[in-house]
């Protein structure tokens, strides 16, 4: 069995299972991750296979979950922590930013923090408040953390494995509304592409469209739509948000002269702004138009019946494409 078709959620389950089989120091911790298998069933079956010492249903306290994971890492464990929803990471924000991110630095490299913090993120599932957010910029701003945002089942499997193997703390932003999107997963062959690099997922010549996580399928849809109007859009999946792979993006923009960035997080202070600044600095004389961003508004995440207005959709992305090409 080399290639299997799996939904993203099950690819992550497979990644967790294989990592736990490979290294007995890998532990799963979080709310409802045990018998229930997590509210999204990502840890389904792991409690049955590995027991409650390795798949730990914790008290309902995010700072406690991440804080005890830090202590376990000190003791040589590699905890994989599940935060149930993006909006519930904030009680653990202190532990993540003041402890997890800084422990290696604080101890002069004497102590490593091989933690993985899994966060189902993003909107589009019709949820109540705090269940649809995209907090990546807050973590990308914090030195010491790494962030991965898979958009395919294959990446979801391998990034889970690689995040666990990495000695630095990694935040895994899982695209919750794509959890049941299927894709081919080759569990036998390690990808040649580093998890910290972006991937050109559709080549093109007129414009570069950068997206990550749940926005990648949208970007591909936009590229297909643009192709019908003879506009050739190159789509890049950022994959890693910290570090962000600027060379791959810059390479593309030098060829296309135009960059559109799509993300669900608010545009103001979002990662798109940082990427736009870096691309402007590196590709100034190649740019035919200003870098544009399509994303969430400077509002709290809205009630579900209005989220279609907040989230980038095909029309708003195509509007961005048109505005870029008008230059």
């Amino acid at each position: 069995m080399s290639i299997v078709q799996l939904p993203i959620a099950k690819a992550i389950t497979a990644g967790l299972r294989d990592a736990m089989r490979a290294d007995e120091h890998v532990l799963i911790m979080g709310e409802d991750v045990g018998v229930l298998g997590g509210v999204f069933r990502v840890t389904d079956g792991l409690h049955a296979e590995f027991g409650s010492q390795r798949v730990v249903d914790t008290p309902l306290a995010e700072a406690g979950i991440v804080g005890t994971a830090v202590g376990l890492a000190f003791r040589g464990y590699r905890p994989v922590v599940e935060i149930q929803f993006d909006g519930f990471v904030f009680p653990a924000y202190n532990q993540i930013t003041t402890q997890v991110a800084k422990m290696h630095y604080r101890t002069g490299g004497r102590v490593r923090m091989p933690l993985v913090i899994r966060i189902p993120h993003g909107g589009g599932i019709g949820a109540v408040e705090h269940h649809s957010e995209s907090p990546e910029a807050l973590f990308a701003h914090t030195a010491g953390l790494r962030i991965l945002a898979p958009s395919t089942a294959h990446d979801a499997y391998w990034m889970t494995r690689q995040a666990i193997e990495t000695d630095d703390p990694v935040i895994m932003l899982e695209p919750k509304r794509r959890y049941w999107m299927k894709g081919d997963v080759d569990t036998d062959h390690r990808p040649e592409l580093s998890p910290w690099q972006a991937a050109v997922v559709r080549p093109g010549t007129d414009l570069t469209l950068l997206a990550w996580g749940p926005s990648v399928p949208l970007a591909l849809e936009a590229a297909a739509s643009a192709a019908q109007e003879d506009v050739s859009v190159e789509v890049i999946d950022a994959r890693s948000l910290s570090p962000i792979d600027v060379p791959t993006i810059a390479d593309s923009v030098r060829r296309t002269g135009r960059l559109l960035i799509v993300h669900e997080a608010p545009v103001l202070g979002g990662l798109g702004g940082e990427i736009a600044a870096r691309i402007t600095e590196e590709c100034f004389y190649h740019l035919e138009a200003p870098v544009l961003r399509v994303g969430g508004f400077h509002t709290p995440y809205p009630p579900a019946r209005t989220e279609h207005a907040y989230l980038p959709d095909l029309d708003r992305v195509m509007d961005g494409v048109d505005r870029l090409l008008a230059h």
Partner: protein, 368 residues
């Protein structure tokens, strides 16, 4: 409040703690003299550090003056294999764990964020974010449980964790969450709170309306309140707590009632919020004086020993003084070191750009 040594040095028996002290050989005259010496040494180092701050050699110093028994006692109650998780005012704990005082100065001088190897010395880094270390202690304990290092009956191998925090930090949510995790998983952790009466300017009465020791009982965590200026009560409580935790009997909580004789830090002015008479009152309960009185009552200390301790303490202060004058500022390029354990292109590019930036000035210098 459990007290084995009153302020005048009178010894009161305590069945449980005396048994523990006896079993561990922790209260022999030789040991008592050792604690006395330790307390004198660490107080001298503390006073010297305050003086070094006044001389501009340290950016800040957080004095532990008055808390010597609460720390030397707890530090020596721990067995070698135990893991200690301190705050930033734990100089007596550090001393008892064999961390040289000059290493503590590194962070207060600003040449590093911490000066020792937590694995080697089995002592967590000093924690500045109040209470944030408490869940680390519990997680470490959960790791010990998984390693089979708890409850085997081997006192020299079974391991427990001592989680230290103050009365102020006891209000932090992470401390409450730590109680929950420790209680639910029966983690081998002793929570040890030095109630030194003041969280900077705010008295303990604002943190808790009941004795702090009662705080943990809602979690089902047994607790005791001991006189933190009584080295024997502290030793008995902490050794008893750690041994029970290592035996697999779950967490304990100890409130150690003491007094922060100095201001919060060298940046603080305690006269703005507490009367000098309070400090005088506590000076009478001084932990060092108390142990000396007790030893004198036993006829186990003489002037020569006291004088030797004072000489050694003076030498230690001088060593610190010389050491700090020899401490070089680190190369600014260390700013970029150890942010990550694996290569990171953004940090690498920023390091490289900074090197380039600096090199222009080298060229200018060379051109002159």
């Amino acid at each position: 409040m459990i007290q084995l040594l009153s302020a005048d040095g009178t010894r009161t028996p305590h069945e449980e703690f005396d048994e523990v002290l006896e079993a561990g050989g922790l209260a022999t005259p030789e040991r008592l003299r050792g604690y006395y010496r330790d307390m004198v040494m660490i107080r001298a180092a503390d006073l010297e550090a305050t003086s070094l701050q006044r001389q501009g050699q340290l950016g800040l110093w957080a004095s532990a003056l008055g808390q010597e028994a609460a720390q030397i006692g707890a530090g020596h109650a721990a067995r070698t294999q135990d893991y200690l998780v301190p705050t930033y005012r734990e100089h007596g704990i550090a001393w008892a764990r064999g961390i040289e005082p000059w290493r503590l100065l590194e962070m207060f001088r600003g040449i590093s964020h911490g000066g020792w190897d937590p694995h080697e010395l089995r002592t967590h880094p000093y924690m500045i974010v109040l209470g944030a270390q408490a869940p680390h202690a519990v997680g470490y304990g959960m790791g010990l449980q998984r390693d089979g290092a708890v409850g085997t009956g081997d006192l020299e191998r079974d391991t427990a964790v001592l989680a230290l925090f103050g009365d102020g930090a006891s209000s932090e949510g992470e401390v409450a969450e730590s109680f929950t995790f420790a209680a639910s998983f029966e983690a081998p952790v002793v929570f040890y709170s030095q109630n030194n009466q003041w969280a900077i300017s705010v008295p303990t009465s604002v943190q808790t309306r009941v004795p702090l020791a009662q705080r943990s009982r809602g979690w089902g965590i047994p607790s005791v309140r001991v006189d933190g200026n009584d080295v024997l009560a502290v030793l008995g409580a902490v050794r008893s707590g750690l041994d029970s935790a290592r035996a697999g009997e779950g967490p304990r909580f100890i409130e150690s009632l003491t007094y922060r004789m100095a201001a919060h830090t060298t940046s603080d002015d305690a006269s703005r919020y507490r009367p000098g008479s309070e400090e005088e009152e506590w000076a009478e309960k001084d932990p060092i004086l108390r142990l000396r009185r007790h030893l004198a009552g036993l006829d186990e200390i003489d002037e020569a020993y006291v004088a030797t301790c004072e000489e050694e303490a003076h030498d230690l202060a001088m060593q610190l003084h010389h050491h700090i004058h020899g401490m070089k500022d680190p190369d600014p390029m260390i700013v970029f070191d150890n942010v990550y354990s694996e290569p990171h292109p953004i940090v690498d590019a920023e390091r490289e750009a900074y090197v380039q930036y600096l090199s222009q000035f080298e060229d200018e210098e060379a051109g002159r």
